[in-house]
């Protein structure tokens, strides 16, 4: 089977090539640049028709884009993007999408993505839902006596789920308001883990990164005993280069 070309990221062609290609890609294949005018694609050959989403392959893809992002502006490309040869990378990606890619590169230049996830500590969310809803309290009293009809239990469960949703929306808004002065864009990510209050992707000017961290620390302090906050970054802008583009 002839090699396919796996694309990791699109970068400006003026980037430090030696540093970009100093690592290896999926399956330890050497990284190369396909350059075309102002843009370049960071690629490696792979010897398969499709990519398997193995731990090693996913980690390599993330690692390569993270390094590219440290070196300069970088548009991460979706995992599993394979072209038949370098010519089609040049033609269908770099040439066909040039203006689109150019504007994306400028949009993410000197900016980082951060992921923020706030989780409720044990029983916090349920306790607040009960405290805020007379109806839930009434149901609780009614059902506490012993075995209750399943219909009533389902009704209580529905009330609790609705209460949790409302609580999450409020907390999401509060978190977003607190950090919005420090970000260029923010997006709420779907995350239905039971204890997640809010999961956000943030695009932040590099010069404001420390301000963001301070704001998140402040938020963590204010919410101590209620929320635990995970902040991951600076990352490549995975959530801000989502625009889908068909092959020309």
């Amino acid at each position: 089977m002839p090699d396919q070309i796996c694309v990791y990221a699109v970068v400006p062609s003026a980037t430090d090539n030696r540093r970009l290609t100093s690592e290896t890609g999926i399956d330890g294949c050497p990284l190369e640049l396909v350059e075309c005018g102002p843009l370049a694609a960071l690629v490696s050959p792979v010897q398969s028709e499709r990519l398997r989403p193995t731990r090693a392959a996913l980690t390599a893809h993330e690692q390569v884009t993270a390094t590219a992002h440290q070196i300069g502006p970088c548009i991460p490309v979706r995992f599993g993007t394979l072209f038949p040869d370098r010519q089609s990378v040049e033609r269908d990606l770099l040439t066909a999408q040039r203006s689109h890619l150019d504007s994306l590169i400028h949009e993410v230049e000197n900016r980082d993505e951060y992921r923020l996830r706030a989780r409720y500590l044990a029983n916090v969310a349920l306790t607040e839902v009960v405290a805020r809803s007379r109806e839930v309290q009434r149901f609780r009293r009614k059902l506490n006596g012993g075995p209750a009809p399943q219909a009533a239990q389902i009704q209580l469960g529905e009330l609790v789920v609705a209460g949790l949703e409302a609580l999450r929306d409020e907390d999401a808004e509060a978190v977003m308001n607190h950090i919005s002065p420090y970000m260029v864009a923010g997006r709420r990510l779907p995350d239905r883990a039971e204890d997640t209050a809010v999961h956000l992707a943030l695009l932040v000017d590099r010069t404001r990164g420390q301000d963001l961290e301070r704001a998140v620390e402040q938020l963590g302090g204010a919410q101590r005993g209620r929320l635990h906050i995970d902040l991951v970054g600076p990352l490549a802008p995975w959530d801000f280069t989502l625009l889908e583009t068909g092959a020309a």
């Binding site: 979706r78 789920v161 583009t245």
Partner: protein
């Protein structure tokens, strides 16, 4: 793992496979005709890993949880810390579960392909 008293964890990069999946799957630039991943509906893997499906079972689960809840809330800081440890342990358990889930889904898929 965060200190029991701390309320924020900082990491420069995703630290587990679940976090890497979370960061990169279904993200980034898409050139439609050229995305070829050898997993049917790979998004299902992440959904498998995380979702609490809204169903009768979920409602019953919440009804039970809220009924069990002790609202006297006389917890001391120490007990809260302990509770936090338990959540962390639980979260780790979930992540491991997620990875196993991914592995088993992939395994299933491989078998289906064979």
């Amino acid at each position: 793992m965060p200190p029991a008293s701390g309320s924020i964890t900082r990491a420069p990069r995703p630290s587990s496979l679940a976090d890497v999946l979370d960061l990169i799957l279904d993200k980034g630039l898409v050139i439609d005709a050229y995305v070829r991943v050898a997993a049917l509906g790979i998004e299902v893997l992440t959904i498998d890993a995380r979702v609490v499906i809204a169903s009768v079972d979920t409602y019953l689960h919440y009804a039970e949880a809220v009924n069990r809840l002790d609202l006297t809330q006389t917890e001391t800081q120490g007990i809260q810390g302990l509770a936090h440890d338990v959540i962390e342990a639980g979260a780790r358990g979930k992540t491991q579960g997620a990875i196993e889930g991914v592995k088993s889904s992939l395994g299933r898929h491989r078998r289906n392909q064979d």
